[in-house]
């Protein structure tokens, strides 16, 4: 799964089994499409694909932010709440904020609303990051706390009610918020375009920028990364800021699509995002995973649940299927990462101290022979 950052050397080994494991999310997606299009003629139509893609976009945007956090070896449980919270913030700003002691009402234009709302998402993320990186609170605990606190604030702001009039008021000159949710460029929904842009940006960041390398290094071995000069604290704070920002963007897209913002929007979406990352082949221990995998993971989840709706399977069964897919993906992950240490020593004929050598004798998969058996042994 490290193809995006592999150096230009043709030394990687390819075998059908590896290809099957690495491409499992892709194969699962194809399987889903084949099965549902045979069950329903409406499934594989351009119109339906675009609708499903805009559902997927929400999961994918959350998932890509989550990917960065998971690469760092952390977890961000607060993204679902942050999504709901930013929607509420956008709704409030669109209604206009009365600043009583000045006697005026502040009505920001739509672009300002968008920026401020994303900024709120980033702020939540920053708080997570500081708690985790500076005050050494466990990521699970810090973001679990944030999950409750942020959701609570969203409910407090609206008294638990949904903010409805997100279309703005022509008189105030702040119409057009629903453009995010409804409009299309070249017939592609704006949410999907956002997803593609974010995927491109984060793909570049992870694969080609120094920050990405720092992130993979600190996720792989934080102590070694720190001693190698990687600013591990900064990296850690930034991944939560990116995750919060992604949640903010997802919140805007969702509330714009619905032209309403519910304080309970995005409930349990953090789990969907984690599922997308895991199905996409990332290791929860950090250091392994990429944007392409997470996108595929989001498509698998989205296309599966929409497909089940289309063929009329009950929502309860949807949950069961999603659960099976997640566990299946993690099992395959174990297969992939569990094999690696065993496989690699013989790829080069060298030896790693980390290799669980005791199992080598009865390894059912004969280790391949692509590499000359010269390394390691010759240093003696």
């Amino acid at each position: 799964m490290t193809t995006t950052l592999a150096p230009p050397v043709g030394k990687k080994t390819f075998s059908p089994i590896n290809l099957l494991i690495e491409g499992r999310a892709f194969l699962a997606l194809i399987l889903i499409i084949v099965v549902f299009s045979s069950l329903s003629p409406n499934y594989l139509t351009a119109g339906n694909l675009l609708i499903m893609a805009s559902h997927v976009a929400i999961y994918a945007i959350l998932g890509m932010g989550m990917l960065l956090v998971i690469l760092n070896g952390g977890i961000d449980l607060s993204v679902g709440s942050t999504l709901g919270f930013t929607g509420i913030i956008a709704g409030f700003l669109l209604r206009g904020v009365e600043i009583s002691f000045l006697g005026i009402t502040f009505v920001p234009s739509v672009p300002v609303v968008v920026l401020l709302s994303c900024g709120m998402g980033a702020a939540v993320g920053f708080l997570n990051g500081v708690l985790i990186a500076r005050f050494k609170v466990a990521p699970f605990v810090a973001t679990l706390g944030m999950l409750y606190a942020v959701r609570g604030i969203a409910l407090l702001l609206t008294n638990g009610l949904t903010v409805n009039d997100l279309s703005g008021d022509p008189a105030l000159g702040n119409t057009g918020f629903d453009w995010l949710g409804f409009n299309r460029i070249l017939n592609v929904p704006i949410g999907v375009i956002f997803m593609i842009l974010i995927a491109g940006a984060l793909g570049l960041l992870l694969g080609r920028a120094r920050f990405g390398r720092w992130l993979y290094a600190s996720g792989g071995n934080e102590r070694a990364a720190e001693l190698s000069g990687v600013p591990v604290v900064k990296v850690k704070i930034w991944v939560y800021v990116v995750s919060g920002t992604c949640a903010g963007i997802a919140g805007l897209v969702l509330s714009s699509t619905l032209t309403s913002a519910s304080p309970t929007a995005g409930n349990t979406y953090e789990l969907t995002a984690i599922a997308a990352v895991v199905i996409g082949g990332a290791a929860l221990s950090g250091g392994r995973g990429n944007v392409r995998g997470t996108l595929l993971g989001a498509f698998v989840i989205g296309f599966l649940s929409d497909g089940l709706v289309i063929v009329g399977v009950s929502a309860y069964w949807q949950m069961v299927f999603t659960g099976v897919v997640i566990v299946g993906a993690v099992l395959l992950n174990g297969l992939q990462y569990g094999r690696r240490p065993k496989k690699s020593p013989t790829q080069t004929g060298g030896g790693g101290q980390t290799a669980p050598a005791d199992k080598r004798g009865n390894d059912p998969v004969p280790n391949s022979d692509h590499q000359p058996a010269q390394t390691g042994t010759s240093s003696r």
């Binding site: 150096p7 050397v9 030394k11 920028a209 120094r210 390398r213 290094a217 790693g352 390394t375 042994t377």
Partner: protein, 507 residues
């Protein structure tokens, strides 16, 4: 007691153990006799610990046989070995610091009464064991509140509590004070008198000689010598441990040292766990460009803490560190690397390598700034840099794209060194650079260091092997309890160095 004393109770026949491509043991035959102490000598990486792990069921041999009381056995786990009367005291403490002394001693073998675990009986038994070891502490004390030496005694108590017939002690005294060692030896003699067979491993050669009945010497995975106590002496051990053709090089000569690169004055570093204790205590050190300095000392002498403090890790309480005259105070690890300080950490796996990265990415991790073009990492520049570093530090790998775990220990160490070389350091700090690598690779690592010194890099390395001090170093510094206890030129001898470290009774 059945059978006569000196009967072989446990025998290893032709044991081979491979870790990946590294042969840690190459067909070892080893016998343990009832009622005697067999000492096992060997350098780091000679295979002593591996052999003991196999005998105690921690690991399985790649091939070969273990024979217990004349019948071949196979241990699936330590529990199985313990059930057959074999227990081991590990080199690394294997206690749970969050549990009490009592719970640690009975861990996994809790005594059950009518209402669950019978804590009272456990505590009583633990107390008796500890008093036997002359450690009078409350069994309810948390292990984390004990000194390391006390923890080691608890570890010993745990091994004794199962009434083993065969007891393996891997460096049991590394954290003990001299009086505690005497107590331990008293207990060992007691146990052997009762017929227990003991395997004793120690770096303290004189100490181990004192307790030995038989000695076996391992070198590079093979047994090189065995003898009875009456036939052996220190010289015999060292000769067989080190081998006849053991050459780690000589100090590079033919040039003058350059400017003062490292200046450490009155440095005091505090233990991160226990702020009361200074691990480096008012230490002064100066190193010039092109000079190689070896820091020798036992475990806990403060070598690691000194090197880490220079690199920017650890709590410096007072004192000053200057690099080419510039104070390093307030500079982060990253800034110090930029300024020219490079550290090769002691624990390669924990602190040196990113296991999820390939060889190339590990090599370039500290010098990514140099391979950036238009704000992005240039794949070509990075590839060229890693290929260049692989060549300069002679890493044996088919290419930079190979997984780091696929390399041997020696080549992994060269990758860590290469990562530091890539930052163009003025000062290279290497903490036990020879740890866990085989003799051939040691020679190559030391040759790399002399090359860097010739290029004008100031080199400081630490070691716990005297032979490694007496190789490429221009100057040898002996550390003991956070201070410099002696300083020698390259003409020092083993005996003087060991005496200064507190290891040996002066020869």
């Amino acid at each position: 007691m059945t059978g006569s004393f000196d009967a072989v109770v446990l025998e290893a026949r032709n044991i081979v153990k491979n870790y990946g491509g590294v042969e840690a043991l190459k067909g070892v035959n080893f016998e343990i006799r009832q009622g005697t102490v067999t000492t096992l000598f060997g350098e780091n990486g000679a295979g002593k610990s591996t052999l003991m792990k196999i005998l105690s069921g921690v690991e399985k041999p790649t091939s070969g046989q273990i024979v217990l009381d004349g019948e071949p056995v196979e241990f699936g786990s330590t529990t199985e070995a313990t059930a057959r009367g074999i227990s081991i005291i590990h080199q690394e403490l294997s206690l749970a610091p969050n549990l009490s002394v009592r719970d640690n001693i009975f861990m996994g073998r809790e005594l059950h009464g009518a209402f669950g675990v019978d804590f009272a009986t456990e505590a009583k038994a633990a107390r008796e064991l500890l008093i036997g070891l002359q450690l009078d502490i409350d069994p309810a004390t948390l292990v984390s509140n004990l000194r390391v030496g006390q923890q080691q005694i608890v570890e010993i108590a745990r091994a004794l509590s199962v009434n083993s017939r065969i007891l393996i002690m891997d460096e049991p005294t590394s954290a003990l004070a001299a009086t505690e060692v005497e107590v331990l030896f008293g207990i060992i003699r007691d146990l052997t008198a009762r017929g227990v067979a003991i395997v004793y491993i120690s770096h303290h050669l004189e100490e181990a000689l004192e307790i030995a009945d038989h000695a076996v010497v391992l070198r590079d995975g093979s047994v090189t010598a065995r003898g009875e106590r009456s036939e052996i002496d220190l010289e015999w051990i060292v000769r067989h441990m080190v081998g006849d053709h053991f050459d780690l090089g000589t100090p590079p000569a033919g040039y003058d040292f350059g400017e003062l690169v490292l200046q450490v004055s009155k440095l005091r570093v505090i233990d991160a766990m226990n702020h009361e204790r200074a691990v480096v205590d008012g230490l002064d050190l100066e190193v010039r460009a092109g000079e190689i300095v070896c820091i020798y000392g036992l475990m806990g002498a403060g070598r690691t803490e000194l090197l880490e403090a220079i690199a920017g890790k650890g709590v410096v309480e007072s004192g000053e560190i200057r690099l080419s005259g510039e104070s390093l105070k307030g500079h982060t690890i990253a800034e110090r690397i930029e300024m020219g300080v490079g550290l090769v950490p002691e624990d390669r796996q924990r602190d040196g390598l990113v296991q999820t990265f390939d060889v190339g990415k590990n090599l370039t991790l500290s010098s990514l700034g140099g391979v950036i073009a238009n704000g992005l990492l240039s794949r070509k520049a990075e590839h060229n840099l890693s290929v260049d570093l692989i060549r300069r530090v002679t890493v044996k790998t088919p290419g930079p794209g190979v997984n780091i775990g696929a390399l041997s220990g020696g080549n992994q160490q060269k990758v860590v060194i290469g990562k530091v070389v890539g930052t163009k350091p003025r000062l290279m700090l290497l903490d036990e650079p020879s740890r866990g690598i085989d003799v051939g690779a040691k020679g190559e690592v030391f040759r790399l260091l002399t090359e860097r010194a010739r290029e004008g890099v100031a080199v400081v390395y630490s070691t716990s092997e005297v032979a490694e001090c007496l190789s490429i170093a221009h100057r040898i510094i002996v550390m003991r309890k956070g201070r410099i206890s002696a300083e020698f030129g390259s003409d020092a001898t083993k005996a003087t160095i060991m005496a200064a470290s507190g290891e040996a009774v002066a020869a």
